[in-house]
Each structure stands twice: as C-alpha cells, then as structure tokens.
C-alpha cells in the first residue's frame, strides 16, 4: 500500500520535476538562460498560448474540446485589422472578445442543443472561421498601425503589457473557476453530467458558457499575438488549437473532464515556451524544437495516465473487509 502511495506521489509531482530538470539542463548549458530578462521573454512568448489554453481549460473541464480557437484568433484579428484599424485597444479588445464569444455560442448551439460531438462541431467551425477571416481580409496580409504595434514594447509599472494581459486573464479565470458558483459547477458537470443535472445544476447553461469563454479568450489571445507579430498572414494562428490543448494537458487537465485547472494550463504553456526558449539559447538545431516539445507532452500524458490507472485500481469496490495480520 505504501509503495503505491509513494508511486502516486512521484507521478503527481512529475511535471514539476520535469520543469526543474529543464531549468537545470538549460541553466548549465548557458548562463544567459537563468536570467530575469529571459524569463520575461518566456512569459511574453507564452502569453497567447496560455490565454488560449485558459479558455480551452474551461471546455476541457466539461469533457468537451474546442478546436476552433485558432480560427477565432485569426477571425478576430482580421476584423480588428480591417474594421477597427484606428480603434484604441480599450475598445478593440472587448470587441474581439465579443466576436470570439459569439463564435463560441455558435459552437455551443450545435454541441448543446443539437448534441453533435464537440470535436466535429469545432472542427467544422474551424474551417468556417478561417474561411470568414479570409473573406474579411480578401486573403491578403493584414498590417497593423503603430498604436497596436507599440504595445509590444509598452510597459506598465515596469512590466510588459502582454504579461499584464496574461496575468489579468489568468487571475479572472482562476477566480471564476475557484470562487464562483459557476466555476464549481463547471467541475461538477465535467465529473458527472447526470449527477449534476439530478442535483439541479443548469447543465446546458454551464456548457454554453464554457464555449463562449473559450471563444472570448481566443479573441484576447489574437490581440496579444498580433501585437507581437505585427501582421496577420493567412496562416495566422494555424494549429494553435493543438498547442492550447497540449498546454492544458501538460498542466494536468484531463480530456475526460472534471480534473485540472487554469494554473496547470499556465504552467504547461510556460513549460513548453521555456523549453523552446532554452533550445534557442543553447543554439540547438531549430528543427528539433517540435521533437523536444512533443516528447515532453508525451511524457506528461504518460505519467498522468499511469496515475489514473493506479487511482482506478485503488477505487475499486470492496466486498469484504480483510482481516489484517494482528
């Protein structure tokens, strides 16, 4: 029994151990790596994936998935570039969030009302979203004005703007998930939708909201990303949905619902970015970046699946209480 508990403890802390190993390895290879400026860079680079992943976490917690987030990023960025080119960020960000949330509501309509699998709905809306974005941009590259690009270098209280946005989104999401009735109901619905309905939770409303949240986060992520990239080509935010899922899963969010949280997702996004950053700093062959990243995600999922298997074995119903040796 004790060895089982020990193994569980080891497996539970494996992602953190992984992070420490990553820090140690890159730290010993380069003295530029363990540097405050470098960590600021990591956080800035990780911010849009983290924000995307935070939205994804809401959906994953209900055992759903949202593959359309990359498309929503592109669509909201395209709308910003074409119709709100002169708007101030104060107006632009809420507008992009609204676009994303609206998009999420469409996803929710199909998932909740028509009961189509979330995977296929959001796969389809991924196409539709990218199509709309290409229509808006007339398949041309979109460039942005200085008031947006200057944000890439802007700081507030000495902290870069992107990190502020990242931190605010994280804080709000964390509070919502942990300290509001809605957040706790998200967890309940993900754990057992039937029991949740029986307990009187408005399950369709909870599900609809999480897709809207995911869309809104994609809108913000689009904004943060565009301040860094400066221009949106037709491949903008391509396959970011997978990066977001990967960050969540790496941070311990279960694809089957009810387990994990936004802190894990942020951890996952930062870990991925740390590795990428480290590889750049030690001048690794850029072609091996995806290999290293995917291996790390694989290891994290492997560890998590082994842990669930042990927990499942422990949770099996017992019929008789065995006499313990006296």
């Amino acid at each position: 029994m004790n060895t089982v508990r020990l193994r569980l403890a080891l497996l539970r802390n494996a992602p953190v151990a992984l992070f420490v190993v990553v820090l140690a390895v890159f730290g010993s290879l380069s003295d530029r790596f363990l540097d405050v400026q470098n960590f600021t860079n990591i956080l800035i680079q990780a911010s849009h994936i983290a924000i995307l992943g935070i939205g994804m976490t809401f959906v994953l917690l209900t055992a759903g998935i949202d593959l359309s987030v990359g498309a929503v990023m592109y669509l909201s960025v395209a709308l910003l570039g074409i119709y709100l080119a002169d708007a101030s960020p104060i107006l632009a960000v809420p507008a992009m969030m609204a676009v994303g949330a609206l998009f999420g509501l469409v996803n929710a309509f199909f998932v909740v009302r028509l009961r189509v699998a979330a995977f296929i709905v959001t796969l389809a809306t991924l196409f539709i979203g990218r199509g709309l974005a290409l229509w808006v941009t007339e398949t041309r590259m979109v460039f942005y004005k200085d008031q947006i690009l200057s944000l890439a270098r802007a700081e507030f209280l000495g902290v870069p703007w992107a990190i502020w946005v990242f931190a605010i989104v994280f804080a709000v999401a964390w509070i919502v998930l942990n300290h509001t009735p809605f957040g706790r109901q998200v967890y309940a619905v993900g754990e057992n939708p039937d029991a949740a309905a029986k307990a009187g939770i408005n399950v369709p409303l909870v599900l609809t909201t999480v897709y809207a949240v995911s869309g809104a986060c994609a809108g913000i992520a689009g904004f943060v990303s565009i301040t860094q990239v400066g221009a949106a080509a037709s491949s903008f935010a391509m396959e970011k949905e997978f990066a977001a899922v990967a960050a969540s899963v790496l941070g311990g969010v279960s694809l089957f619902g009810g387990r994990g949280g936004v802190a894990g997702t942020v951890f996952g996004a930062v870990l991925i970015q740390t590795v990428q950053n480290g590889l750049v700093i030690v001048n690794a062959d850029p072609y091996i970046y995806p290999l290293v990243t995917s291996s790390i995600i694989f290891v994290a999922v492997f560890v998590d699946s082994q842990r669930s298997r042990i927990l499942e074995r422990l949770g099996r119903r017992r019929i008789r209480i065995e006499e313990r040796p006296v």
Binding site: V121, A124, L134, Y287, I288, F298
Partner: protein
C-alpha cells in the same frame, strides 16, 4: 393520446417514413454528391469534361487511401491525428533511400522497391507505436496521436535537412516516377493501387474475423472482451492499418509530386477526418464502411473542385467545406435520435 393527435400522426407518418428512408439510406452521401454535381453543372458546365472528372479522381485517390485507414480507427472508437505526419515522414524517408542526389541506394536497381518498403515500414512503425501507447499504456488516442503528429511532422523536416539544403528531396529515380504516372490497360497505376487497397479494406471489414472484431470493439468494448475478443490486439491492428494506409498515400503523393517533401499532407488532416465523418462513419465507434468513406471523399473533393471552378476564393472553399462537415454531423445526430425512437 387524443384523437386529433392520432390524426396528425397518421398524416405525418407518410412524410416521416420518407424522411426516415432518405436519412437512413446507405447511399445518402452518394445521392447528395450526384445532386450537388447536377446543381452546379449549369454554373460550371466544364465540370462534366473528361479532364475535370479525371482531376477529381486523381485528387480523390491519395486522400481516399488515408481516409480508409482512418475509417478503421474510427470504427474502434479511436482517432488518428498522426496520419499526416506519417505521410510526410514516409515521403522523406522513401526519397532519401532512392534519390539520385546521394540517396542510400542511389542508382541501385533495388532502390525503388527498397524505398517503398521503407515507406510502408515507417507507417507501420508509427502505427504500432500509437497502438502500443493506447492499448498497453492506457493513454487516450487523441493525445497519443496528437503528440506523434507533432513529433513526426518535426522529425520529417529535420530528417530532410540531412539530405538536402532545399525543402524537399528531389531527383527521384525514373522508375518511381513512372510507377506514379504510368498506367496499365489505360487505367492509371495509382487507381489500381487505390482500388486494391479499397477492395482489400472492404473485404477485411465485411468478410473477415478481424472485421467483425473491429466493429465489436467499437460497439461495446466490454461485451467484446467478455466474448473473448482480444480487444487490445484488435485496436492496435486498427492503428497499424491506419499507419500502413497513410504510407501508401505517401507513396502516391510522392510519386505525383516527384519529390519527397516534409510538408506533404500538412493541411489535409481535417479533410481526412471530415470526409470519413461525412460518409457516415461515427466518431463514437462501431459504425463505418469503406464505401461510405469513398462517398465522403468524393463529396468533399467534388465540393472543393466545383468551388474552385466557380471562381470562389479560398475563403468560401474553407467556409463551405466546414459547413458541409457540420451539416453531415448534424444529419448524423438527427439520424441517431430518429433511430432511438423506433
């Protein structure tokens, strides 16, 4: 039930029977394809030309092979996101074996068969790895194949850098190119290959023990296990088959482009899964047929081609494709709910 509701029931039952027959028809997607074809014909009469039809066919072929592999995986209630990376990896590995620019077996008469063998081996190996992680380590198929997809997409690019300074490995032997573009009895070789794969896959699913077991694992895994079905082996087999099919598709694509390139297939992942689902194969397992997938691929390619010929921009092609996939999924959901009412 009151008398009036009985009357309306009777009146609507004829309509309902018709709706049900259409919805449940195996050939629903084929009829839709034909209908669609006829509907766009007035706007783009050249759709009916031999050349366009031939293009549609040749666009269908490699996509169909991957989609058939994906059908196997969906039947056991899995999903294989790694197929595009297998196409890429197999393409560059195969090319590196046979290319005239310093390939491992450059100039050797064995180069072409060895290269093709290597490509299939790549597919089988990645499929085997997916199957192992899913059945033995108990990891979810979505994440396993997502990580293998990321890994091997990257690996294919990396591998290419060892063999060329450009983005693809060219100068493939004449023998290989001829294989891809030649024909036997007027029928292109690639069509022969796809026909063979399709018929074989159909026979496996419809006629063999393995086929029955694949459906059983997708329908009710626990009941299958109680009935002595070696569930793990069967599920692993589905992923192996998917890997092998992706490798065959890679041979076809590589032959068509005459280069081995790691960006091959990068953008078709969602087309593949979309086509299979449009055909009627369920994402939840236990349901699917090779002919359905043929119809699904046909429908998707038809839409793709017609939209391009209508002069519609990329955006509408994307959006309409998405809408079609969504529509197919909604129809499937409605079907399922109808079925539950019988």
């Amino acid at each position: 039930m009151t008398a009036t509701s009985l009357e309306t029931e009777a009146r609507s039952s004829g309509m309902r029977r018709f709706v049900r027959r259409v919805l449940f028809s195996e050939y629903l997607v084929l009829w839709l394809s034909v209908l669609y074809f006829l509907a766009v014909l007035p706007f783009v009469p050249q759709m009916a030309s031999v050349e366009v039809l031939r293009n549609i066919l040749s666009d269908m072929l490699p996509l169909l092979v991957v989609a058939i592999g994906q059908t196997f995986v969906l039947i056991v209630a899995g999903i294989d996101l790694s197929v595009t990376s297998i196409i890429a990896m197999a393409s560059v590995v195969g090319a590196s074996v046979m290319t005239g620019d310093g390939g491992y077996l450059a100039g050797s008469p064995l180069a072409v068969p060895a290269a093709m063998l290597a490509m299939v081996t790549v597919g089988l190996a990645i499929g085997a790895f997916n199957g192992f992680c899913i059945t033995r380590l108990g990891m979810p198929p979505f994440i396993v194949t997502l990580t293998t997809m990321m890994f091997f997409s990257g690996a294919a690019i990396w591998f290419t850098t060892f063999h060329t300074t450009t983005s693809s490995i060219a100068n493939l032997p004449h023998g290989f190119v001829v294989l891809g573009q030649g024909n036997i009895g007027g029928v292109p070789n690639s069509l022969w290959v796809v026909l063979a794969v399709g018929i074989l896959a159909h026979i496996v699913l419809a006629r063999t023990v393995l086929g029955r077991r694949l459906y059983a694992c997708g329908q009710n895994r626990r009941a299958a296990a109680v009935s002595g079905v070696p569930v793990r082996k069967v599920i692993a087999a589905a992923f192996l088959i998917s890997g092998a099919c992706a490798a065959v598709a890679s041979i076809l694509y590589t032959g068509r482009l005459q280069t081995g390139t790691p960006i091959l297939g990068q953008t078709i992942l969602l087309d593949i899964i979309g086509a299979v689902v449009i055909g009627g194969t369920s994402l939840f397992g236990g349901k699917g047929k090779v002919v359905w997938t043929v119809f699904g691929v046909l429908f998707l390619v038809l839409i793709d081609t017609s939209l391009k010929m209508l002069g519609l921009s990329l955006f509408s092609v994307f959006a309409i494709k998405g809408a079609v996939i969504l529509l197919a999924a909604v129809i499937d959901a409605v079907r399922t709910r109808f079925a539950a009412r019988i």
